[in-house]
């Protein structure tokens, strides 16, 4: 039965022989099969444009040549390099430079555009070197005097407000609740407490908390602290004490009390003289024990 299924295939292939072939030739269908066999051999397929196909294949083959050169190992190395570059770039762009002036010392440093910053005692400044020219920004905690090179916007960011300048010299003081900016050259814009103030040379803006403190016109060309003369404009007693502690790197103990504000200049390179001026103003007595200084009211000791 199985052989019957492929009988004609065998005949077509010339594999049918003997009695089987003779018998098949006698069948009524044979004539038609023979004609099918003969005429089907005369058929032809439509002519193909093989040359065009070859050209298309060759075209894509040439395009692939360049791509094939990127072998897997090369891709792996490239991937590693790209990742390494990416990590380096990430750290480089987010890297910040930190400058600190410890108590009792001043630190002077240059920013990438050669702007000068002088840090007063116990102050810290932070900035990013990457893309400096388009993003001149220094985060300040403490007090510093800036000589800013001409260029684009320059920001000093402090917890109490932002100072924006374009090529100028100015001092920023940010101690506790005190925020004080003095302009020495050029123009300075101060944003603090939701208001913006434009300062011209000699002008100072000062805040104690949310309160505006009136400050006299500045006639010097640089802040006093650069020459070790700390200027105070209606500064709180505590802030002055803190400044003396910072400048001389000492500890001062005082009685709690309701002291008035202090205005004036204290030398920061002569502790005895500074204490003399300060204690005279507040009627206090000085007692030194090692690195510690105790200030007590004069009246109390008389008892």
């Amino acid at each position: 039965m199985k052989e019957e299924d492929i009988k004609l295939a065998k005949w077509l292939d010339g594999k049918m022989e003997g009695a089987e072939l003779e018998e098949f030739k006698k069948s009524p269908e044979y004539h038609t099969y023979q004609k099918i066999k003969d005429y089907s051999a005369e058929l032809t397929a439509p002519q193909a444009d093989i040359d065009t196909i070859y050209k298309n294949v060759a075209k894509s083959r040439n395009q692939n040549k360049g791509v094939r050169k990127l072998t897997p190992w090369f891709a792996k190395i490239a991937a590693v390099l790209i990742i390494a570059l990416g990590v380096t770039f990430f750290f480089y762009t987010t890297h910040t430079t930190n400058q600190i002036a410890m108590a009792g010392e001043h630190t002077e440093f240059l920013l990438p555009d050669n702007s000068t910053v002088m840090l007063n005692s116990g102050s810290q400044a932070e900035y990013k070197t990457w893309n400096w020219d388009d993003n001149r920004k220094v985060e300040l905690n403490g007090e510093a005097f800036f000589k800013v090179a001409k260029g684009k916007k320059f920001d000093v960011v402090t917890p109490n407000g932002i100072v924006t300048v374009v090529g100028t010299q100015f001092n920023v003081k940010n101690r506790n609740n005190r925020f004080e900016v003095t302009c020495y050259e050029g123009k300075v814009k101060v944003s603090s407490n939701g208001t913006e103030v434009l300062l011209r040379p000699g002008q100072t803006i000062a805040y104690e908390g949310n309160e505006n403190v009136a400050v006299e016109f500045e006639t010097d060309t640089t802040p006093g602290w650069l020459t070790y003369e700390a200027e105070f404009h209606k500064e709180t007693f505590d802030n002055v004490i803190a400044e003396i502690e910072r400048q001389y790197n000492i500890e001062i103990e005082t009685n709690k009390g309701n002291y008035s504000t202090f205005s004036g200049v204290l030398p920061m390179d002569n502790l005895d003289e500074a204490l003399d001026i300060f204690t005279t103003a507040y009627q206090l007595k000085t007692k030194k024990t090692g690195n510690k200084i105790i200030l007590t009211p004069m009246n109390e000791s008389k008892h």
């Binding site: 299924d5 492929i6 009988k7 004609l8 295939a9 065998k10 077509l12 292939d13 269908e29 038609t32 099969y33 004609k35 099918i36 066999k37 003969d38 005429y39 089907s40 051999a41 005369e42 058929l43 032809t44 397929a45 439509p46 193909a48 444009d49 093989i50 065009t52 196909i53 070859y54 298309n56 294949v57 894509s60 083959r61 692939n64």
Partner: protein, 190 residues
């Protein structure tokens, strides 16, 4: 599912086509173009019998050779042909035959002398030829492809089996049923 089936056949296919090892690396320009010249026309005709559409046949032929080139480093020369047909067959799954195969008779015509034939006889024969053309066009794709590869391309059953990725027995069965169908069609047209 279809592809898995084809891949199963691929092993036997590869085994069968190990005979010719004259070719060197397929990646070599000359080798590749020689291989193309030897096989492009046959592949294209095969695909034409399958689809009944020249454009599709050209496209798949081109596609198969491009794939061969892209994988030339991984395909040993003796396996190139079976690779080619496997790619073509897989690619064909996305093409559905929707046109009738149009085939012409070669100009030289019959072997028998045409001198002493009566006009009636000649006309009858011409009618038969037309009927045969129509009957072939009405065959199923599987039957038509196997039958025409044998009749026009002169391929052996074994070769056809390799090209289609089926067994020789299956090819013989297709040829047999194709003949039966053709005869019935032609006789019905009388």
């Amino acid at each position: 599912m279809f592809k898995n089936k084809k891949n199963l056949y691929l092993d036997s296919l590869i085994y069968c086509s190990m005979k010719k090892t004259s070719l060197k690396g397929i990646c070599e320009e000359i080798t590749f173009s020689d291989f193309f010249k030897n096989h492009a026309q046959a592949l294209r005709n095969y695909l034409y019998y399958k689809f009944g559409n020249e454009e599709q046949a050209d496209d798949v032929t081109q596609e198969a050779f491009i794939k061969l080139w892209q994988n030339c480093a991984d395909v040993p020369p003796e396996k190139a042909k079976s690779f080619l047909y496997t790619v073509a067959n897989n690619a064909s799954l996305n093409h559905i035959a929707h046109q009738k195969v149009v085939l012409e008779y070669a100009k030289k015509s019959t072997k028998k002398g045409t001198d002493n034939q009566s006009p009636e006889f000649v006309m009858e024969e011409e009618q038969f030829k037309t009927k045969l053309q129509n009957a072939i066009a009405n065959l199923s794709e599987a039957q038509r492809t196997a039958f025409l590869l044998h009749r026009i391309e002169g391929k052996k059953y074994k070769e056809i089996a390799e090209m289609l990725g089926i067994s020789v027995k299956a090819v013989e069965k297709r040829i047999h049923t194709a003949l039966v169908e053709l005869r019935k069609e032609i006789e019905n047209m009388r």
